[in-house]
Structures are given as C-alpha cells and as structure tokens.
C-alpha cells in the first residue's frame, strides 16, 4: 500500500442481505487509476457483470474517494459516484464535493461499492462497525435535503448522508444523488440507487489517513490556497458559473429553444452581473448561516414564482463553498418568500433559454423543484425542451407544453418527478428513449449524445467542444471534456474545426481525467501553469510515489481508454460517437452576419483524427495490444 493517501481496500456491500467484504486494491491499480472516476472505472470493470441492467440488483454502484481526500489541499473533498447509467447504458461517473467524501473515506476505504437490492426501502449505514441497513419508511417521498437533515438528526453527530429524492425512488433515468446540498447529477445515478431500495447512505469517520510527507502537503496546500484567490478563479468567486450566460449569448454559444437558436432574447434577464452584487469581495465562510447549512436549495417551490425584472434583482445574499474549498463558487439567490437557492449556469441555461423561459423567478423555482425531486437539471431541461418542440409540431398531444411558458415548465417537472402521468412517464426516460417512442422526426432534434442530454455549449459555434461532446464516454458532457476551453481561448478558429481542435479536445479530456481521479475541482485548473507536473508533485507528497508529469499523462490516457473499453463491453457502437442531426443540418447566423455550420464531413474528420491520436482503430475501438496497462485481468 502507498505510504499515504490510501487504505488499499474497497468496501463491497450487498444490500440484499447486508453482507459486506473488503476488496484489496493493489498498489499498481491505485497508481494506475488514482481514485475517483479512474478507480471507479476499474471497479466497474472488475465488479459489474457484463450486460447487466443498470437498475437490476446485480448492477454496481460505487462511491469512490481519492488520495487527496482528507488532506488540507483546497477543493479536495470530492468523490465520484460511478455506475452503468440507466440513461445511456454506458459508464457514468458523477463527481461532487461535500463532507460525505471525507467521512466516507475515513470509514477506512478508498471506495464503497454497493450491489444487490434491499428487501424494502432502507438506509445503508457504514462506519467503523461495518455496514448495516435500517428502515427508511419515514423518509420515503422526501426531498433528498429533507431526508439528509432528518437522518442526521436521527443518527447524531458525525454522520454524513447521500440521499435520493422522489425521482430516484421512482426510477427517473436522470435522477440525482444529493449530499450536503450538492449533487452527483448526471446519468441517473439516483435511479440506480433507488433501484437498490436505498433512500440514503450514511457514513461516519472511524479512522485517519496519512500523507507520506505531511509538511510538503501542508506547504502545497498553503500555496494552492493563495493561488485559489487569484485571477484564474475570479469568475467563479465573484459571479459564479452563471457569468457564462451573457457571454455565451453574445457569441452565439447559448443553446436556446432546444438548439433552434444560439442566442436568447431573454438572456438579459437571466444573466449574472456585478452591478447589483450584494456581497462583492466576500470570501467563502462569510455566507449566511442559512447558506452555510449546505443545502443547494432551501426553498420549497413558491406557490407563485417571484417575477422580478431580472435575475440580478434576486442577486445573491451570500456566497458559499464546498467542503475544503477556498474558491467559493456558490452564489445564493433569493427565490421568494424568504427562501434562497444556489444558482449555476447549467441549471439556468437548461431551465431558461433551452426551454425559452425568461422569467427569473420561474427559472429559480424550476431549479428548486429539480433539487426537491432529485432531478438532473440539464437532462430535465433538455428533455422538456425536446417535448415542447414535439408539442409545437403536433408530435405529442400536450397543447399546454409551449416554449417560454413558466407554468408548463413547472408542470412538466412535477409530472416527470412523480411519474404521475403518461407524459411524465415518457419524459422520465430521457429524450433519446422518448424520441424512440414518439418517432417521426423527433429523434433528429432530441438533444443528446449517447442518451445524455446536452449541456449549455453550442457545438455549431464551438467545434472543439462538438468533438468532445461526440466522443466522450459519458455522453454529451462538459465536465469530462472541457474542449470549449480551446474554442474560447482565441488560439484557434472556433467555427473551423480541424486537427488543432482534435489535439485541444484530447488535451482537455486528459486533464479532466486526471483532475477527476486525483481529485481536484476543475475550477482550479487555471491556477496551474504546468498542470501535469504540478499534480504529480501533489500526488507524490501525499502518496510517497515518485510520480512525474509524464506518468500522469499516461494515466490520463489509460483512464480515457478504460472507459471506452467498458463502454464497448456494454454495447457501445461507432454510431454512438456522433451528434444530433439538427446540429449537422441547420446552420446558425452569428452576430457578425457570418454563418456557422458544422457539417457531417467536418465532424467525421475530427472524430477520425481523435481516434488516430488516441491510438484507437478506425471505428473507435481500443486496440487490445495497446491496453496491456489497464490491469483488468
């Protein structure tokens, strides 16, 4: 076992009968996959039965920690939840930050792996005494945040909870897992947990974890903390990710009305600006007591959404941060009725412009409703936007479901989260499955890749990102592929995708693979000037390994390929690496008057280039002889 950072074992619990066992994690595997998304991929290979239904008892749900958890390094209190997605049928790995990461790791394990299905809805408890199940009847139907609070009150000091909402209980295929108000959001992990009859998992620390060189780690933590206050994180610190919205609108990169446009005439009402900032300059920790409680949204859906002129009027009353984070990207807005909500770009994009909704109160109410139900906002917004277009085209009999109608948005969310109507049941499957049911032309404008709804980055005006979205293992995803960085860097022409875009997409994918496995928040990425070498130094101080930047680059490649190998095993097809037809057929007009177009031939050429640079075969399949270092045997 490494000198620090690890326990060298995973805890495997079968909730069918509560039986638990430890799985030794060899040093070579830990070094090869680090932790988080990387180690989760290896665990899924090792423990997940090939071809298993993601909602079946045999499916694996892994909570995977990292070597940096428990250190004083900023943004290190993160973990990955990894499973086969019920939305895509492929690997999904969602990262989140909270005290759950620290308490979970300090149960004495580098990962907690859950299999089986409990006889009745239960809570899984894990601490120094092992694993046990308790009845969850009193929590059934509760919002995850309410279940979290109630459970912690019941269990007492030291317990940390990850819970699902009603959507996860009912099997909505984009249900989330929540903890301390944060969400493992994408790919339907809440449904996987719900299918195991688990309302919640509670963990309590039982031990400590060492670093190989504590003095070096402390020095690095101080340095990184100072850097986290610099200009590279200013956007997150001062405005949060919502700062993207107005900028993306200005450059025609804001998906609107189900990708029918890339600018939104209501964007001005939804953007974040400094002008009315109430808490400018505050550091994390100066948040209000209410915000510090760690609940993503403390509001119940207001009976009547507030109707201020713009979101800036609901500007934050406080700023908060994840556990162990000094950036503080969380910006808290007033929802109405004295309630507050955390606001990020992706939820405002998905529930605002994507659905044509410009009323700030309605967008925040919809976001709060997603949190209460336990729904991924991106998939919820994308699927509803698709349904709105279907309704307008007469493909779905729901005349009330119209772009721009706040009431329709909230009603659709309720029907999905509760699966209380045929339409709700249809949309709970996600846009890909729903389009297969609806048929007609609806598949051409279903906004997904591999079944995962698209985030708020317009591929036609961001060609590196177009490639990243097409080839990523998780599907349409902006966290595992940050290729938009290249598009927005000014270093290449964002509407003329080619070889440079391929190289850039691979570079950002590699960086994400390491950051998501070691784990550090990607909002820190701008503070590193030589990232792989600097990350290697951090890992060396924690683990005692003599890592180098070059080794970490190989690690990145390994993790990316391992995900692709897993997906291939589970039925991935070459045609899955592609974008929705709409994006390849309908050009956009930029503010300059120039047309932006992404042709099938251009996308094909970029994908082929990606396969070649990755060492894949021409169909995108990993070449077996190149994969000797995956350690699956």
């Amino acid at each position: 076992m490494p000198a620090g950072g690890y326990f060298g074992q995973a805890f495997v619990v079968d909730v069918t009968d509560g039986a638990a066992a430890t799985l030794p994690l060899p040093d070579r595997v830990l070094r090869a996959y680090l932790g988080g998304a990387g180690l989760g991929t290896w665990l899924l290979h090792r423990l997940g039965p090939p071809g298993a239904d993601p909602l079946s008892p045999s499916a694996v749900l892994a909570f995977v920690f990292s070597p940096l958890v428990g250190t004083p390094l900023t943004t290190s209190a993160k973990f990955a939840v990894v499973a086969k997605s019920p939305l895509t049928g492929l690997l999904t790995d969602a990262l989140a930050s909270s005290q759950f990461a620290i308490a979970g790791k300090l149960t004495g394990h580098d990962a907690i792996v859950i299999t089986g299905r409990a006889e009745k809805q239960s809570v899984l408890l894990i601490d120094g005494d092992g694993a046990r199940l308790i009845d969850a009847a009193e929590l059934t139907g509760m919002a995850a945040s309410d279940a979290d609070r109630k459970l912690r009150d019941q269990l007492g000091r030291g317990w940390r909870v990850a819970a699902i909402g009603p959507a996860g209980e009912r099997g909505v295929r984009y249900a989330t897992i929540s903890h301390d108000g944060r969400h493992a959001g994408r790919g339907g992990l809440g449904a996987v947990m719900g299918a195991k009859n688990l309302k919640a998992i509670a963990v309590r620390a039982a031990t400590k974890v060492n670093s190989a060189d504590p003095a070096q780690v402390l020095a690095a933590a101080r340095d990184l903390r100072e850097r986290s206050f610099g200009p590279a994180t200013a956007k997150y610190r001062e405005l949060g990710t919502l700062a993207n919205l107005l900028a993306f609108n200005a450059i025609s990169a804001l998906p609107t009305r189900n990708f029918q446009s890339a600018t939104f005439d209501g964007a001005g009402r939804l953007g974040a600006t400094q002008s009315s900032q109430a808490a400018q300059g505050s550091r994390p920790g100066q948040a209000s007591q209410a915000a510090r409680g760690g609940h993503a949204t403390e509001a119940a859906t207001p009976a009547t959404p507030a109707t201020p002129a713009d979101l800036a009027e609901m500007r934050r009353v406080a700023r908060s941060s994840c556990a162990s984070c000094t950036i503080g990207c969380e910006h808290i807005y007033r929802v109405g009725g004295g309630k507050k909500a955390r606001v990020e770009y992706e939820n405002v994009f998905a529930l605002g412009p994507m659905c044509g909704v410009a009323e700030p109160g309605a967008v925040l109410a919809a976001s709060a409703r997603c949190d209460d139900l336990g729904l991924d906002t991106i998939s919820a917004g994308g699927t509803i936007a698709w349904a709105m277009e279907c309704a307008e085209r007469g493909l779905i009999d729901a005349p009330w479901l119209r772009f721009g109608d706040p009431g329709a948005l909230l009603r659709a969310l309720d029907e999905i989260g509760t699966m209380s109507t045929p339409l709700g049941e249809l949309l709970a499957q996600g846009s890909r499955a729903a389009s297969r049911t609806v048929g007609g032309a609806s598949a051409a404008f279903a906004p997904h890749v591999k079944g995962l709804e698209m985030p708020g980055y317009e591929p036609r005006t961001l060609h590196a990102m177009a490639l990243g979205l097409a080839v990523n293992a998780r599907g349409a995803d902006h966290n595992r592929s940050g290729a938009y960085e290249a598009d927005l860097s000014g270093d290449l022409d964002r509407t003329d995708g080619g070889a440079a875009h391929v190289t850039a997409a691979i570079e950002t994918e590699d960086r994400a693979a390491v950051m998501d496995s070691m784990i550090l928040c990607k909002f820190l990425r701008g503070v590193f000037t030589d990232p792989f070498a600097e990350w290697a130094a951090l890992l060396s101080a924690v683990t005692g390994w003599d890592m180098t930047g070059a080794e970490l680059r190989r690690t990145a490649r390994r993790i990316v390929i391992a995900k692709r190998v897993y997906n291939l095993r589970e039925g991935w097809q070459p045609a899955d690496d592609w974008l929705p037809d709409r994006l390849l057929a309908e050009p956009l007009t930029l503010a300059s008057g120039r047309q932006a177009r992404l042709t099938p031939a251009r996308l094909r050429a970029m994908i082929d280039g990606y396969y070649k640079e990755r060492g894949l075969d021409p169909a995108g399949r990993p070449v077996a002889e190149n994969n000797h270092d995956l350690y699956f045997a």
Binding site: R237, A243, N244, A250, Q274, E344, D487, L590, G593, R594
Partner: protein, 275 residues
C-alpha cells in the same frame, strides 16, 4: 498584399509606418485576415525586410522586381493557387481599409467576373480589388510582354466595376465606411501625417462577467481604439491570459494587436469559461 513598392514619394518604407499602435503592413494584413479568414500572402521584393506580420500570414518573394503591380498580382495569385479561388489584392498603405469593404468587393465575384474592380472616390482601385487566382498566368504573361499596367489585364478578362453606389449598396459597408475611406492610401509624408491625425476607429466595448467591477462598468460603451489592446486600455482592463476578446460576436482572440475597424463591437470575457 503587395509590399514591394519603393515608397519613393514617402521616402521611407510604408510597410513599417505606424498607425494607432500597428504598422500599416500588420494592420492591413490583419484586416484582410479578419475579412477573409485567410490564407493571406504578402509579396515582397527579394530580400526586403518586413516588420512583424500576423501569425499564419506567409511571405513570398517577387521573382521579377521593378515590374509594377501586375507582376506583384501575378506572384501573389500564383502563391494562392490551390488554396483559394479568389483573392482580395491590396497594397500595404490603406490605414482605413475596412473588413466590410473587402467582403463587399469579394462578394461581387459571385456573379462570375474575373475581377471586381472598385471605382471609388473617383478612381479605379486595382490594389483594393478582387481577382480570381486563375488569372495568375495571364498576369505573368502580360508582364513578360512588358504590358505592365493593370489596364492591360482588365482588357483580357471580364471585369465588374463597382462605383460608389454599387459599393454602398452593401448595408454594412454603408454603415461602417460611408465615405469609402477604405481606399484612402498614404503616399507622401503629408498624407501619412493627415492619416495619423485622424482618430482611431470608434468601437463599442462591453465587459462580461467578473471583468466588470465597481469603477469599471461593463458597458456597452463607445471608445476609440484601433486594436484590441487599445480597446482594453480604453476600458481600463488588463488584457492578460485570463481575458479574451470576441469581435462582433464572432472570432475570439487574445492577440492584443488584433485590428479594430469603425463600428466594431468588442466583447471582453473571462478566459476561464468553465461551468
């Protein structure tokens, strides 16, 4: 771009003359790059020293010096063979050249002629005109025959002449360059001084996200700036690696020397775009 002239009336190489923070050569090359997306080729006299050029601009030597503009046109069009069907041909001394002018002239080739020749402000403008690159051989032949004036070339191919009205039928050009200053060249020290005394283009600047702060409003507001750096300076913004600029909602740049033209809009954004 024909850079090989002798600049005899100016008395100093015109390509290196400064105008609002750029050399005339850099600015003209960058304006043409903005308008066309490239490729951009600079034709120079063999051994001629040139000031810095925008990235991706290539330089070719004129194999036959002293033969005038048709020879330069022939060399430039030949250098573009296989890479472009048409080219905007310009001299280096047009400080007010507007991208909209380049676009409007090139668009006139869509109707089929070999040359789109502006007749602006009362004069033919063969060095602010569009040519099919297939004319390279014809132009070279004319030079071989010592028929060195552009008029000889125009006699041998189809030419669309664009008078002021035809040019200003383009609504963007009419708005941004209503006097067709795009074709104002500087040949003498007096003309150069007059050009320098004109203000930099008026552009709109808007700061997004965390770049707008108390005392540094987001705008939009009007400033005078000939480059992205000038616009950042006017906005009180440090244009460093954490900042990018989008021109007219289109191309994004971190190049401080990016030229601005009248009526441009510059969006300054955080380079840290995650979320």
């Amino acid at each position: 771009m024909l850079a090989g002239g002798r600049s005899s009336r100016m008395g100093t190489p015109k390509a290196a003359l400064e105008w609002h923070g750029s050399t005339l050569l850099y600015r003209t090359a960058a304006i043409v790059t903005r308008a066309t997306g490239g490729p951009v080729v600079v034709v120079r006299a063999s051994g001629q020293e040139l000031p810095e050029l925008p990235k991706d601009v290539t330089v070719v030597d004129d194999p036959r010096e002293g033969k005038g503009p048709v020879q330069g046109i022939a060399a430039g069009l030949a250098a573009l063979a296989g890479r472009a069907d048409a080219a905007f041909v310009t001299s280096t001394d047009l400080p007010f050249l507007h991208p909209a002018f380049v676009v409007a002239v090139l668009r006139a080739l869509e109707d089929g002629p070999d040359v789109a020749l502006p007749v602006a402000r009362g004069y033919q403008q063969p060095l602010a005109a569009a040519y099919r690159t297939s004319l390279a051989g014809l132009a070279a032949g004319l030079v071989s025959d010592e028929r060195l004036r552009p008029a000889f070339l125009f006699q041998e191919c189809s030419v669309t002449r664009l008078d002021d009205a035809a040019l200003l039928a383009d609504p963007v050009l009419k708005e941004r360059d209503p006097d067709l200053d795009s074709v104002l060249n500087v040949n003498t020290p007096g003309e150069y001084q007059a050009a320098r005394q004109r203000q930099a283009p008026e552009v709109t600047v808007q700061l997004f996200g965390a770049l707008a702060k108390a005392g540094r409003p987001g705008g939009p507001r009007q400033v005078r700036a000939a480059t992205a750096q000038g616009a950042a300076d006017a906005a009180g913004l440090r244009f460093d690696r954490h900042v990018t600029a989008a021109l007219n909602g289109d191309q994004i740049t971190r190049d401080p020397a990016t030229p601005l033209a009248q009526g441009d809009t510059v969006f300054f954004m955080s380079a840290d775009a995650g979320g």
